[in-house]
């Protein structure tokens, strides 16, 4: 039984696809809108109240 090899251009497409998979996170970032990026990365903005509630004695510094 002979082993069928993929045509050259098909192989290069496969390589590109593989390379895309490796960098899928970056590609996803480039395709998505910027607020979707934030959500996909998992960052959340904390409410000021939640920061205040976590404080033991209140903050010390107000920077310029």
């Amino acid at each position: 039984m002979s082993c069928k090899t993929a045509p050259k251009n098909k192989a290069s497409k496969m390589n590109n696809a593989f390379s895309d998979m490796k960098h899928s996170s970056v590609i996803r970032l480039k395709n998505n809108s910027i607020s979707e990026v934030r959500a996909s990365i998992g960052f959340t903005l904390r409410s000021d109240d939640s920061v205040r509630k976590s404080q033991v004695k209140g903050y010390k510094y107000i920077l310029p």
Partner: protein
């Protein structure tokens, strides 16, 4: 709680070896605890964003240099030193925002490694910034999943959400874990 700190000695600035248009430079400092010499680096990114990181100088070439515990029990003054760096950079750049990652601990002897979400370091750093800097100067943003924290400077020209988006777009070019 984080009032004590170590004196910093400047070791100079280096330009970023990759993507210098996004990460402009890396400022290096040294500080010494009674037993250990530390290197503290501040990576300077676009949008006035600064990432603070430090490691034991002895492990400067170790792939897990940020993760190794020294067991010296000097966390308070070391974190106090990082708080001083925030003040120092805020004086130099009044629009400065700051970020850090609480690296998951790694024991080189037993090979044990902490999970990357909500690490012990991240909880301490979070406690420190909550108590040292309130919500007046910075809008706080967190990511429990990869134990990172961003202090977003309140500025007139950009809303915190927009600033966060811009910073994350830049940072994701450098930190793979941030985007996975």
């Amino acid at each position: 709680m984080f009032d004590s700190f170590y004196e910093l000695s400047g070791l100079g600035n280096t330009s970023s070896p990759i993507k210098p248009n996004l990460r402009t430079k890396i400022c290096k400092y040294r500080f010494c605890t009674p037993e250990i010499n530390y290197i503290l680096e501040v990576e300077c990114y676009k949008f006035n964003f600064y990432v603070i990181q430090y490691y034991n100088r002895k492990y400067k070439n170790h792939p897990r240099k940020y993760q190794i515990l020294t067991n010296e029990h000097k966390a308070r003054p070391i974190i106090g030193t990082c708080m001083k760096v925030i003040q120092m950079f805020s004086e130099m750049d009044p629009l400065a925002s700051f970020g850090f990652i609480g690296a998951n601990s790694y024991d080189p002897i037993t090979g044990k490694e902490e999970k990357i979400d909500s690490t012990k370091r991240w909880k301490i750093y979070k406690y420190a910034v909550e108590n040292e800097y309130g919500p007046e100067t910075f809008k706080h943003a967190i990511n429990k999943l990869n134990s990172s924290y961003i202090l977003l400077r309140r500025r007139n020209d950009m809303a915190p959400a927009k600033l966060l988006d811009n910073i994350l777009t830049v940072v994701s070019e450098f930190y793979e874990k941030a985007a996975s």
